[in-house]
Subunit: 330 residues, 2 copies
């Protein structure tokens, strides 16, 4: 018997462990064209919170009658499909469980690579692509410009810091607490704001962004977005990647500086990484080189065992992760 996490009930506001249930599941029989995969790495990501609501969005809501899903890396145990052999590592979407039998076409074989396989859940995967296309595509960031990025110690944020540095931008970042700030500084940020320290966020931002900012990469929303609008230069762009402070609440965002959208011709644009799937080759070439050269390094926070998956997910919302949050399975 395999085991898989189900959503027992839809969270109202912040999720809790009570919303999740680990169940035994029957694996499908291994028929021709299918493979059996043992998961080694599971990804938990903030966007999954949105899928726990029963509302139409860019990805369908999680069903209460099926295991949760998400990105994962697994190892082939048995194969009745051409091109897959036991021991092969595969990338796929059947996360939140330990084993799966599925049609071979729903798995992508990882090539021989010098990088650890979980890198494909981080800088070489959706995380890296989100940072890359959000910064260079949506925000059209250019060398010489000044960037502000929030949640910069997180998976996407830390990739944004490094890509921006490689692009020749001045990088101002925010993170919560001294440890995270030191980490972001070590990635090459020119200035790091501890948003948990005393004082008004916009004043702290203005103090280090003396000439304002050209791009804000928003992972947070709320007061960070407002502070960014408050110091934005003429023609500034805001790429809205996430609003982690809104995923769990129904509260409203109060903005004091929204009128500056007019006076400073600011563009605010939301995006989803799949909007750029036609440009994945470009991403893989650029990021593959940076990762191989260790110009972009993806830090990981790892929790052990399938049992820890919901806690790993909840940890995203209390800031317990540095870099990418992953679950490792034996």
């Amino acid at each position: 018997m395999a085991r898989a996490w189900y959503l027992k009930s839809r969270p109202a506001g912040m999720p809790s462990l009570d919303n999740f249930e680990l169940r035994s599941v029957e694996l499908a029989p291994l028929t021709s064209g299918t493979i059996r995969v043992r998961n080694r790495w599971l990804s938990v990501d903030p966007y999954m919170r949105g899928r726990m609501n029963d509302v139409e969005s860019y990805v369908p809501p999680f069903s209460l009658d099926a295991p949760l899903d998400g990105a994962a890396i697994g190892e082939v145990l048995e194969s009745k499909a051409e091109g897959f052999a036991p021991g092969d590592l595969v990338s796929h979407r059947f996360g939140w469980r330990d084993e799966i039998v599925g049609p071979a076409h729903t798995f992508v074989k990882l090539g021989n690579s010098s990088v650890p396989p979980q890198t494909y859940l981080n800088t070489l995967g959706m995380i890296g692509a989100t940072a890359y296309f959000g910064l260079l595509g949506v925000a059209a960031a250019k060398p010489g410009e000044t960037l502000f990025v929030s949640a910069a110690a997180g998976a996407v944020g830390s990739a944004v810091v490094q890509i921006a540095r490689l692009t020749g931008m001045t990088v101002i970042a925010s993170a919560g607490g001294p440890e995270k700030c030191a980490y972001v500084k070590s990635l090459g940020a020119d200035a790091v704001i501890d948003y948990k320290s005393e004082g008004d966020l916009q004043e702290k931002l203005a103090a280090v962004a003396k000439n304002g900012i050209d791009v804000y990469f928003d992972n947070v929303g709320g007061d960070h977005l407002d502070a960014a609008l408050g110091v934005a230069r003429q023609g500034a762009r805001v790429a809205v990647c996430g609003m982690i402070d809104m995923y769990n609440g129904t509260e409203q965002v109060a903005l004091r500086n929204l009128f500056r959208v007019i006076s400073h011709r600011i563009r605010i644009e939301g995006f989803i990484v799949s909007d750029f799937s036609h440009r994945l080759d470009e991403f893989r070439a650029a990021m593959g080189r940076w990762v191989a050269n260790e110009d972009v390094v993806g830090r990981e926070t790892v929790m052990e065992g399938l049992e820890s998956a919901p806690d790993a997910f909840l940890a995203l919302f209390s800031g317990r992760n540095l870099g990418k949050m992953l679950v490792r399975l034996p």
Copy 2:
């Protein structure tokens, strides 16, 4: 002696008549290359409120030591400049006063035209260009799409309604009170929401925009922007032209629906009509034809006499205008 309105003091919040002072001013001597002009029409516009604050913006703040300025149409009384003769009508920026002597190059002669001269302060001027470029440029509105426009009985809003209808869009508009709503309906809007009537604005908008909206032309900000975000379709664009409810306050805007920027890839973009000065020929050709054919009609609310200019300006913020607010001088 001529007379001109000065800003006596900078308003905090909503301006009042006390902030203005009518003073006698000495006209400059009529030297070679200058003309003397008697103003016939003065424009008062919401953006002037921003210039009353002593802050850097896209236009410099009004000085307390010089007459207010703004768009105006006048008649040449005397000329020492080639190409200008008494009786010529000119468009210029020396509003808020009755007479002016200035260098000829700061005036533009109105050609022979079948339209009343004040049309150049309305549909054929900055108002029309703001509507045209905001809708077709910034928001990239397309035939078949659904538009929502706020303050649709105002100068810019009523032009937006008509241009959108000519473009083949479904037009949903909002205005305050039955008279204004009837006027907007007469312009060809498919549905008009009275935002002053009972009920939640977003619910009222959702009731008429059954399939959501593709474009929101924002003249208002606040709850209108939030309602628009709440019903915006995938890939919707918001052109932010004005936030009249923020010009006079320091209050914050509370948005419940901002997270939809991500899930629905919404673009919010502020603009200023002068961003499109390189495309003025295109505007003049298109709008000139529409105005000549009476496809776009610019309604006017006229106050009489230089003395009424501050009151005409204040009326913009209490919704006392239908269409373009103008001051007529004898």
